[in-house]
């Protein structure tokens, strides 16, 4: 099974036999990949019970929990990497969550849909409505995305938090984007340390 582009980038960057905590791990696709391909000690946290059940049924170590609250239970630097894929924008306090990611992990991967992508901008500019695009497919009243964020916003947050950006990846659909990223990237992935 092939991974989503942001997860594939993260999987490729993770060192073999390391310890990884995937927060909001969904059905465990990244965890299973890391465990099987890189002998990673892969753990997960997921709020949806049905997803957790599917993870545990695959033999993955996944805890049903709310990252807004339960990340605080993990010890400092207990993991080589923490991963937060497509979840930052759903956090109650993304800034505090970034702190937790960098406290629990030596390095953190964060991926999110870029709200400044040209499709989103034009939907708002010319449609005059909250954008519903292929990256942000759910209407404003039922979306879990309560803190939309752009590539530029995230760089600023990282700087304010004293986090160093080690690597970054940008995608439009499945294709890498290298220039004009805050306009052209549908999704961004950052690798951070502090």
């Amino acid at each position: 099974m092939s991974l989503r582009p942001d997860l594939a980038a993260i999987a490729e960057a993770i060192a073999p036999a390391s310890r990884v905590l995937d927060i909001g791990c969904g059905d465990g696709a990244l965890l299973a990949n890391l465990r099987d391909a890189k002998q990673v000690d892969a753990r997960g946290m997921e709020i949806d019970g049905a997803c957790v059940e599917r993870c545990v049924a695959q033999g993955l170590s996944v805890v049903q929990g709310d990252a807004n609250r339960d990340l605080a239970d993990y010890p400092d630097k207990g993991f080589d990497y923490t991963v937060l894929s497509q979840t930052l924008q759903t956090a109650t306090r993304p800034d505090e969550m970034l702190d937790q990611l960098l406290r629990v992990g030596r390095q953190a991967f964060v991926s999110f849909p870029n709200f400044a992508h040209w499709r989103t901008r034009s939907a708002l500019m010319f449609g005059g409505k909250m954008p519903v695009t292929r990256a942000i497919p759910v209407s404003w009243y039922e979306t879990p995305n309560i803190h939309h964020v752009t590539v530029k916003d995230f760089r600023e947050l990282a700087r304010e938090k004293g986090a160093k950006i080690e690597r970054e990846w940008f995608f439009s659909g499945g294709t890498p984007v290298t220039a004009g990223t805050n306009w052209r990237a549908e999704f961004a992935v950052f690798q951070l340390s502090r």
Partner: protein
Amino acid sequence: MAGASKTLQLPNPLPLDGGGSLADAVIAYETYGELDEDRSNAILLCHALTGDQYVASPHPVTGKPGWWERMVGPGKPIDTARYHVICANVIGSCMGSSGPASVASDGKPYAMRFPVITIRDMVRGLVALLDELEIETLHAVVGGSMGGMQALSLAANWPERAARVLVIASTSRHSAQNIAFHELGRQAVMADPNWRQGDYYDAADQPDAGLAVARMAAHITYLSEEALTEKFGRNLQDREAKSFGFDADFQVESYLRYQGSGFTQRFDANSYLYITRAMDYFDLAEEHGGKLADAFAGTAARFCLVSFDSDWLYPTSESRHVVRALNAAGAAVSFVELSAPHGHDSFLLDVPALDRVVKGFIQ
């Protein structure tokens, strides 16, 4: 009351948390499936308060199927074609392992002279059994309710003995409410004049009425309000109208009376006192200096905790409490709250999601 189980007399006195030791302790147990050559495929199943070793074979007294046949057997989630499953009667109980009904050295039943035991004492007995069976490391230890307490106790006190620890609908400590319900049950037994301070074994009349009330009260805690309403509502039992008397007018009354009287056929009243006491004394953090995470420091075992959303006896918050401690200890832990309508007893009933979790975790 012993059935056709295998029994093992422990070669050494069993040390007890309350001080002293239990000499000549006997453990009765059942096994299912073959032990492989390197003795690495054993799964220890720990039973609940009134459970026993007949996990997947008929009960010798009641003739009913084993208490977890839906989970244990060839091709079942705990597959006896792959695993060697061991289930032993805990000490203090009454299905062949040493308990208050056992005969002491003076030729009379121990009755209340049997020492007060703890969950850790029960597990010490199980570990002694594993020693005798020459099983160094279990593939998994699995338990629901009180069985889950034993699994946690084994993981905390003998961390090298199990590679996987599966704890279902359980807790790391008895709450005030848990203790309160148990005290109600014990007082019901002890208020029965036939209890005779525990010396009833030779008497014509047994403390069945008290034990039945204890079981009725406990049974309510095993079910959710939704399950009771669904099953019985306010339906009347075999009658058109209320009797304006104190017969079992309502179906739920009749059901509880049936549960209570059926229980006295298979369980010893003194055992009920001892085992509920052991559960009330259970506080895994207290045993480890007050911090639950310290109970699991350095563990290499993988853990899985499962709770049920309708279980108000050992609610999800208790499982989360254990999960937090395991996370703080850096242990590999899974946790899921499953949705099931039946209350605490969900772990014994038809919950397909539980089958998938159990199968996935132990493989």
